[in-house]
Amino acid sequence: MTQNRRSLRTTSELDDLSARTRELILRSVFKAGAGHIGGPLSVTDILVNLYFDRLRVDPTQPELPGRDRLILSKGHSSIALYTVLALRGYFPVEELDTFDAVDSRLQGHPCMKTLPGVDMSTGSLGQGLSPGVGMALGARRSKLDFRTWVILGDGEIQEGQIWEACFVAARYRLSNLTVILDYNRLPQFGWPSETGYTREVPIDDPAAKFSAFGWATVECDGHDHDALRDAFDKAEANDDRPTAIIANTIKGKGITFMEANHNWHARVPTQEELDAAIAELATRSLAGVGRS
């Protein structure tokens, strides 16, 4: 496995791509009149960093056997994946306008059957890591040198199947498998507490949990492209076990009135909200504060 990869993009190029991705996410959800916002904005930088700086993929040959695999297990963030795939050249950016429409390849949740570039169908939370384990096991047996990356949500890892998969991945010492936890601490509804709903996930200190299952762990700022790059380098350098990267993120990242607000989990912005959000993205990226 290649370690300490050559950087393909400068940090500011990646920041620009993140801002562009966020804008397209908001526009697509607005156009579709449906979809999720908080989760996609939270995972944007992770996906941009992977597709533009890390993954060994070729958009013109999406089925190449040796390509790196990416599973967006938190499939409700599909629009973020579609946007990054479009910007990376898998399909025309205009196709984002068909998100959620009948006959569209851009289904509400990613479907590997309809859209080339999607490595695994997801949408029912908690299921994406297991196919990742299968891909990593198969890669090893077939002597293929690719890496499998699986993005999980912190609410999602309440599912028991995640921990079944963690156990098996560690048991088989799948060092060619990396999890990125989009740790924004907000699921959809949350948990009750004495003071009302906390909106917090119950999974404290996920690194300790992955490490108890035999995984290597790395923590990083999930909105800082340099930090993500370092974390990915570290994951690739582990050669005896799988790695979980705990990426600290903010749900709704990039738009002040959406940040860390569970109400934006799956709300469609009004025209005024869309305009305000896009204006904010423009000023932020000009000022170079897109980076956390």
Partner: protein, 324 residues
């Protein structure tokens, strides 16, 4: 339309254990070039996946007692061109893994073979937690999955060869205990094809899985009592051989179904739906009457739950006399 007739074997009746045939056939198919992998949920010595594990240790993946993950791992392997076969009990694979099978196997149409060992109620005195009376119904309702229930070891072998190259997901329903071999060695299995095993004009029995052997016995007894009874064996409950079922109803005008499964949603349900739509025909469903099973020896269970050939004869006689 005349339904293709398959001659039964002329060899004296001998038993064969489907699970051993299953384990051995996985080895044979792999030796012949199939890109098989087997994933096990800590039951390999029950399902006899251990036969395969011994032949091909590098193609056998133990997944532990974690069936939901197992379905997903199989799915990941299938994306790389492997043909995964899952080893566990029907009861667990088809209910605990249902969402996994729906989302990552059926919806993308990945080539995974879900093999439900110990299906139905003849599960070796394990009782209702380990019996599956609803697996055919559940899987029949899932778009894109073939549902196959062979009658004997020979048909199982032939079915596995066909499934191994079908390129799409399948549910293979297996029975625990040895059962009589009824097909000749030359038997050819085709996914989606029903086979007529016995001609008859008064009543058509439509059966699946190991109940076909008991259906043949029942037809024989009814024959001695002066009735002419046909037996149509339906090893593929999905896709269903609608033509053969309708043709049999045309010939006999009276139908009885037989299965080691609930009468709701299984073969009986499928036949009733088919005839209701294409050729309304008086019929009786013989199977488990909307209840769970219990532990006990096979003979006692067959008797209590009305699945024995004697029970079939009784039901058939009631049906034949009430319509005459």
């Amino acid at each position: 339309m005349s339904i293709p007739m398959v001659a039964l074997t002329s060899e004296p009746r001998a038993n064969e254990a489907p699970r051993e045939v299953w384990g051995q056939t996985l080895c044979d198919l792999t030796a012949a070039g199939a890109n098989t992998v087997v994933l096990d949920g800590d039951l390999a010595n029950s399902t006899r996946a251990d036969i395969f594990a011994e032949c091909y240790p590098d193609r056998f993946f133990e997944m532990g007692i974690a069936e939901q993950n197992m379905a997903g791992v199989a799915d990941g392997l299938a994306t790389l061109g492997y043909v995964p076969w899952l080893s566990s009990f029907a009861a667990f694979l088809t209910s605990r893994d249902l969402d996994q099978i729906r989302v990552v196997i059926a919806q993308p149409g990945l080539d995974v073979k879900i093999c439900g060992g110990y299906s139905g109620i003849l599960t070796g005195k394990t009782g209702k937690t380990h019996q599956s009376v609803e697996d055919i119904a559940t899987f029949r309702a899932l778009p894109g999955i073939d549902v196959v229930a062979p009658a004997d070891g020979r048909e199982l072998r032939a079915a596995m060869a066909a499934l191994s190259v079908s390129g799409r997901p399948a549910y293979l329903r297996l029975t625990r205990d040895p059962s009589p071999v009824i097909f000749p060695d030359s038997y050819v299995f085709e996914i989606g094809r029903a086979v007529l095993l016995r001609e008859g004009a008064d009543l058509g029995i439509i059966s699946t899985g190991v109940q076909t052997v008991r259906a043949l016995d029942a037809a024989e007894s009814l024959g001695s009592a002066g009735y002419s009874v046909a037996v149509l064996h339906v090893p593929t409950i999905k896709p269903l051989d609608v033509e053969a079922i309708v043709a049999l109803a045309e010939q006999t005008d009276l139908i009885m179904t037989a299965e080691d499964h609930s009468i709701i949603g299984g073969l009986g349900g499928a036949v009733a739906e088919t005839l209701g739509e294409h050729r309304p025909t008086r019929m009786k469903r013989v199977g488990i009457q909307d209840r769970f099973g219990e532990s006990g020896p096979n003979d006692a269970l067959l008797k209590k739950y009305g699945l024995s050939s004697e029970a079939m004869v009784e039901q058939a006689q009631a049906l034949l006399t009430s319509t005459r």
